[in-house]
């Protein structure tokens, strides 16, 4: 994006960084001999899947493994003097007090979840001012002025007033801006960003990445960008370091590495990424409407000021049909009402008004007893495979439970559960294991098996792959495609990820602020989006170079 920023001096030089955790007798090497350099004004992307050691590396740069059971070896040289031959400061060799003085002043860090990264009890301006005062020794008044100044710099509107707000009064994007402002307060040479945009919507992500680019260009601050998203790296970094199981498998200029990866792991990683421009399987010809919603609305009420109550319209007059045999993608940013909509579709949530009909039968507001007859036809797969499984029941029992509830004899239910496990690619011999013994991808397979146990007609998947690494994500998407063929399923697939939606859907519904903005065939929607919001969404997605 900004070309090769490596014209400046080296501000960070890492050699042979190794981080080991001793756990129950054994030693786990989370980072294994990683070396890299970062130039002033440059941006290095560190990519890898979960457990690759990328965040562990980032934390080590600020000496944040101190006083944990991690053992850090290697050299972490910091400072503009490195190239002059005078040598920089070795973070790893400093005492605690020395490291503390570096943190925030010369090397700052921003984190993934901007909600929890700020103290909920204090005003945002105070938190930034506190950091500034710690390193500059400025007075209260000056520190507050500095806080307002940096908040203004990162694009918080009306910064002088908003500095008095507490974190919960800020949106996700604004919180991340506030955290960046905190990082800017002492004008550090290096900013370490650990998945800074992973918790944000694509349009907000684009704004934050733009801001980081701009700050880098203006201040000459170097950026170390840790992310799982190759699109983000491609957009915002000059150099990339690919990590796998603690090792640096490939390193080089972004364009070269992403266009012509030298290592098989990098190639596999790139292949697994759903792309907006990749060829996709032929569209299925949808049949007659299986489920139709008409003018569906759902309101939530919460207490407001005084005696009043505030009403939020989460879904606002949505009409659409889901056709037999198709996959309908539902895409939108957080708060767009997509989850509320699909929960109403499967009868988990009652609509405030509007109509839902399933197989030409009005099922709106049916009493639970009558609804039960169609519950089996409507099943759901949830986003978080960890919290949607009961940790105290074995996965076999979990899968068999829906059958048992319906009076299938225990032996038969168990047998079916084992068959389902096999079908979704799990070893049926592990039916008596508990969810925590499975990986994230395997747990999502369990979730799918459980949803399939009642042989539903409609399967609603709410962000089923958002918590998974790209390679696992690709496997789960393939599994869903397979079972759709086998079981003749109709799928409603909810996601915030436009590339994933494009890959799996036949038709796509775009939602915003509770309303249906656009509904079109997938090819048409991506090739020539009609609505301006759809266009904005599509341009915000970082694309692989």
């Amino acid at each position: 994006m900004t070309g090769n920023g490596a014209d400046g001096n080296t501000v960070l030089s890492v050699r042979d960084l190794t981080v080991e955790f001793s756990s129950g007798g054994g030693v786990l090497r989370a980072v294994d001999g990683v070396s890299f350099d970062l130039a002033a004004g440059g941006a290095l992307g560190v990519v890898g899947e979960s457990g690759s050691g990328k965040s562990t590396t980032a934390l080590a740069l600020l000496g944040l493994h101190r006083h944990t059971d991690a053992r850090v070896t290697g050299r972490i040289l910091l400072g503009a003097e490195i190239t002059d031959g005078t040598g920089g400061v070795d973070v790893n060799a400093l005492d605690d007090e020395g490291v503390r003085r570096l943190r925030g002043r010369r090397i700052a860090m921003i984190f993934q979840d901007p909600l929890s990264a700020l103290d909920p009890y204090y005003r945002i301006g105070d938190q930034i001012a506190e950091v500034y005062r710690t390193h500059s020794g400025a007075g209260r008044r000056a520190a507050w002025a500095r806080a307002v100044e940096v908040l203004d710099r990162v694009g918080i509107p009306d910064a002088a007033r908003r500095a008095r707000a507490r974190p919960h009064e800020f949106s996700g994007g604004m919180r991340q801006r506030a955290l960046i402002a905190m990082a800017l307060a002492c004008e550090p040479e290096i900013l370490v960003a650990d998945e800074p945009t992973s918790a944000l919507d694509v349009t907000v992500q684009a704004q934050i990445l733009d801001l980081l680019d701009e700050l880098r260009a203006d201040t000459g601050m170097a950026l170390l960008l840790v992310t799982h998203d190759l699109g983000v790296v491609s957009r915002s970094a000059d150099e990339v370091l690919v990590m796998h199981r603690g090792r640096a498998v490939e390193q080089g200029p972004v364009r070269e590495v992403l266009r012509a990866p030298a290592r098989p792991y990098t190639r596999a990683l790139l292949d697994a990424v759903p792309r907006l421009d990749a060829p996709r399987a032929a569209r299925r010809e949808p049949g007659d409407p299986l489920l139709t919603v008409t003018d569906l609305t759902r309101e939530f009420r919460r207490p407001g000021r005084g005696l009043r109550r505030e009403t939020t319209r989460a879904v606002d007059g949505v009409s659409l049909d889901v056709r037999r045999g198709e996959t309908l993608g539902v895409v939108g940013e957080s708060g767009s009402g997509k989850t509320t909509l699909v929960r109403m579709m499967v009868g988990l949530l009652a609509p405030t008004s509007g109509r839902i009909s399933f197989e030409d039968r009005d099922v709106t507001g049916l009493p639970e007893k009558r609804l039960r007859s169609i519950r089996g036809d409507l099943q759901m797969v949830f986003q978080d495979p960890t919290s949607s499984l009961n940790p105290r029941r074995t996965v076999g029992d979990g899968i068999a439970d829906p059958l048992r509830v319906r009076g299938v004899p225990a032996g038969e239910a168990r047998q079916t559960a084992r068959e389902l496990m096999e079908r979704v690619g799990l070893d049926p011999a592990r039916h008596d294991r508990y969810p925590h013994e499975f990986s994230g991808g395997q747990r999502q397979r369990v979730g799918i098996a459980r949803a399939l146990s009642l042989r539903p007609k409609l399967l609603v998947c709410d962000e089923p792959v958002s918590a998974l690494d790209v390679s696992t994500q690709a496997q789960i998407l393939e599994l869903l495609r397979d079972v759709q063929e086998d079981y003749g399923l109709t799928i409603v697939f909810v996601s915030h990820d436009l590339a994933v939606i494009r890959q799996v859907s036949d038709r796509v519904a775009v939602m915003r602020g509770g309303a249906l903005v656009e509904l079109a065939d997938v090819d048409e929607l991506y090739a020539s989006p009609r609505h301006e919001y759809t266009r904005a969404l599509l341009t915000a997605v970082p694309v692989l170079a």
């Binding site: 503390r100 943190r103 925030g104 700052a108 984190f111 103290d119 909920p120 710690t134 207490p303 005084g306």
Partner: protein
């Protein structure tokens, strides 16, 4: 906020009516006759009937309860022969045993109970929070384990045991203190405090054990939160990270714990008062229950209910001030 207060007030009224109704119900169900206790030995049938009439016990229990409610809202008249005494609202009636107005009986004893609980509250909060903080920062080391032993000991010892032990040690063996006698704060502040030391300690041992545990858990939880990592990553001195950011998060829940625990504290305060012979509300509860002194028991129930609800409301309001994310409704 307004909605919250309206609701709280509504539920308070319902609660008080139900509580006092239960007291009257229990009174009706137990076989004891307070008139016999009042009349004394050697009372004949006729004299007993007079006492019955005077105390209103010849009326059905529902009528008695109705008069009680009436007295609360509009006041009521008591006639003993030719004189009529008016008892203005809120009228809790007169004690069967002493003929004194219940309201003044309670008002007289309230300062004693307040002295005991307020002083102990300060002590156990300070002790509990400090020990909990040390315990969390020295997690799994010797200090933490020693504190855990204290906590388990404190939790497992009822106040009538710990109070008795304190009495034996400080008044018996060591003779550092005289046996406590209540001295009003307004008369002699030093004497007030000296005499309350042992009762305070008795309550503190138990309650600070709870607080130590809660502070320790809260601290460990908060210390593992992301925003603590943020401030460490920004080079704030550890003292500040703990003192300003971690402690705030760990202590906020204690506000509501104090409110929830309030009822338990009342019971323990009652036992402590009885043990040390302090003329407080607790002692009055024990005496009036033993004497089947219905007006006093009902009045005390009302007071305790009111206190619990007020404490909880105050805690809710305080919590919403401390943690702005909380919206009361």
């Amino acid at each position: 906020m307004i909605l919250y207060l309206v609701r709280r007030l509504g539920s308070l009224l319902v609660l008080l009516v139900v509580m006092t109704a239960v007291v009257y119900g229990i009174f009706y169900a137990i076989p004891a006759d307070p008139a016999i206790l009042v009349c004394g030995k050697g009372c004949d049938g006729a004299q007993l009937a007079v006492v019955h009439h005077k105390l209103g016990l010849d009326q059905p229990i529902t009528a008695q309860y109705w008069h009680f409610l009436e007295g609360l809202v509009v006041g009521r008249d008591y006639s003993s022969g030719p004189d009529v005494t008016h008892c203005a609202a809120p009228c809790l009636g007169y004690s069967f045993q002493t003929d004194l107005p219940v309201l003044s009986l309670i008002a007289q004893r309230l300062p004693v109970s307040l002295s005991l609980t307020a002083g102990a509250l300060v002590l156990w909060t300070v002790t509990g929070v400090s020990l909990g903080l040390v315990s969390a920062l020295r997690e799994k080391r010797l200090t933490d384990r020693l504190i855990t032993v204290f906590v388990l000991g404190g939790l497992g010892t009822p106040v009538f045991v710990s109070g008795l032990l304190l009495l034996m040690v400080f008044c018996g063996w060591l003779q550092w203190l005289d046996f406590p006698v209540y001295v009003p704060l307004t008369e002699d502040p030093a004497g007030w405090a000296r005499n309350l030391i042992l009762p305070w300690l008795t309550l503190t041992i138990l309650q600070s054990a709870i607080f130590t545990r809660l502070t320790r858990t809260g601290m460990l939880e908060t210390l593992s939160e992301d925003h603590i990592r943020t401030f460490r990553a920004y080079g704030l001195p550890e003292r500040r990270v703990i003192g300003r950011h971690a402690l705030r998060g760990a202590l906020t829940p204690l506000i509501s714990i104090n409110a929830v625990e309030f009822g338990v504290v009342l019971v323990n305060a009652m036992l402590t008062e009885t043990l040390f012979g302090l003329p407080g509300i607790g002692q009055l509860i024990v005496q009036s229950s033993n004497n089947v002194d219905l007006p006093v028991v009902a009045g005390l129930t009302l007071t305790a209910g009111l206190a619990v609800v007020l404490a909880n409301t105050a805690a809710d309001l305080l919590y919403a001030t401390v943690d702005r994310r909380v919206v009361l409704a």
